[in-house]
């Protein structure tokens, strides 16, 4: 089961869960993913030690996709 997580004031929230073989869950996850991107979030997948990659489409084979908000200099 793959998960789409959004970091928020609760720690994090599971926005969607899917399995690649289940068309219904993947469709729902894609919609939720796009909705979060439209709200200004960036989606990131961890690529192992010290590396991460931003994605603009939901990678269905990834176990965890994390949504983060923009950062800026303070």
């Amino acid at each position: 089961m793959s998960r789409l997580l959004r970091m928020d004031q609760t720690g994090h929230t599971v926005i969607a869960e899917w399995t690649a073989e289940d068309a219904q869950s993947t469709q729902a996850a894609r919609l939720a993913f796009q909705e979060q991107l439209d709200q200004g979030c960036f989606a990131v997948v961890s690529e192992g030690p010290g590396r991460a990659q931003q994605v603009r489409e939901l990678p269905l084979d990834e176990p965890v996709v994390i949504l983060r908000r923009p950062i800026a200099g303070g």
């Binding site: 970091m7 004031q9 994090h12 961890s46 690529e47 603009r56 994390i66 800026a72």
Partner: protein
């Protein structure tokens, strides 16, 4: 869909568009920024010291005035270092449960050593191409190779309602996406010798800096 198919080409952090006028950070821009910082500090301090010396030479009665000038010359670099130390401050969590959840996610992003360091210091230690990074909820510190200089950056996610560990996780993910991009987006708060910063840190943050400096020296 695979990550390769859905990934954004590695053009850098999307936040870079908000600071398009800045030159992308690399070793040479960091070196220049460090030298500029040293020159700026010297430009503040030297006139005060010189004036104190000239006054004392002209008339010993002005020595008290000279001492005040020297105190200013001492205080200005200390204030800069104090500003740099603030980037490693860890604000208290408004919601303990949310912070525990956020800490779990941050721990999942780290290996065993990284989690151990996080437990001891409340900070994240990450080795990058530009040096060794220390990440906190509202800032980042870069120890350049050789550990002769540290760069303190004010940078973070603007939403204050996020638990501290989530804010650190934001910086960690951004760093892993594009290290030079993070150094470009961030605002420099201080650059100087680690010992100047160390005096302004307490407890676990000081221990964290010591380990980062050790790692920066290759130890």
């Amino acid at each position: 869909m695979s990550v390769e198919a859905s990934a954004v080409p590695r053009a850098g952090l999307p936040e870079l568009s908000a600071v398009h006028w800045r030159q992308r950070a690399d070793e040479s821009t960091l070196r220049r920024a460090g030298r500029r910082w040293t020159l700026c500090t010297a430009a503040h301090v030297f006139p005060l010291v010189a004036t104190a010396a000239v006054l004392a030479a002209l008339n010993p009665l002005t020595i008290p005035v000279g001492l005040i000038l020297l105190a200013h010359a001492w205080a200005i670099p200390e204030l800069y270092a104090a500003r740099g130390a603030k980037v490693l401050r860890r604000p208290g969590a408004q919601d303990a449960h949310a912070e525990a959840v956020a800490l779990g996610l941050l721990g999942d992003l780290l290996d065993h050593e990284g989690r151990d360091f996080l437990t001891r210091t409340g900070l994240v230690l990450e080795q990058g191409a530009l040096g060794v990074w220390l990440l906190a909820p509202s800032g980042a510190l870069l120890v350049t190779p050789g550990a002769r200089r540290v760069h303190c950056y004010c940078v973070g996610v603007s939403d204050a309602s996020l638990p501290p560990s989530d804010r650190t996780a934001h910086l960690l993910l951004a760093l892993r996406e594009d290290e030079a991009g993070l150094a470009t987006v961030a605002n420099l708060a201080f650059a100087g010798a680690p010992w100047r910063l160390r005096r302004r840190l307490r407890g676990s943050a000081r221990a964290g800096l010591d380990e980062a400096v050790g790692a920066g020296r290759g130890g």
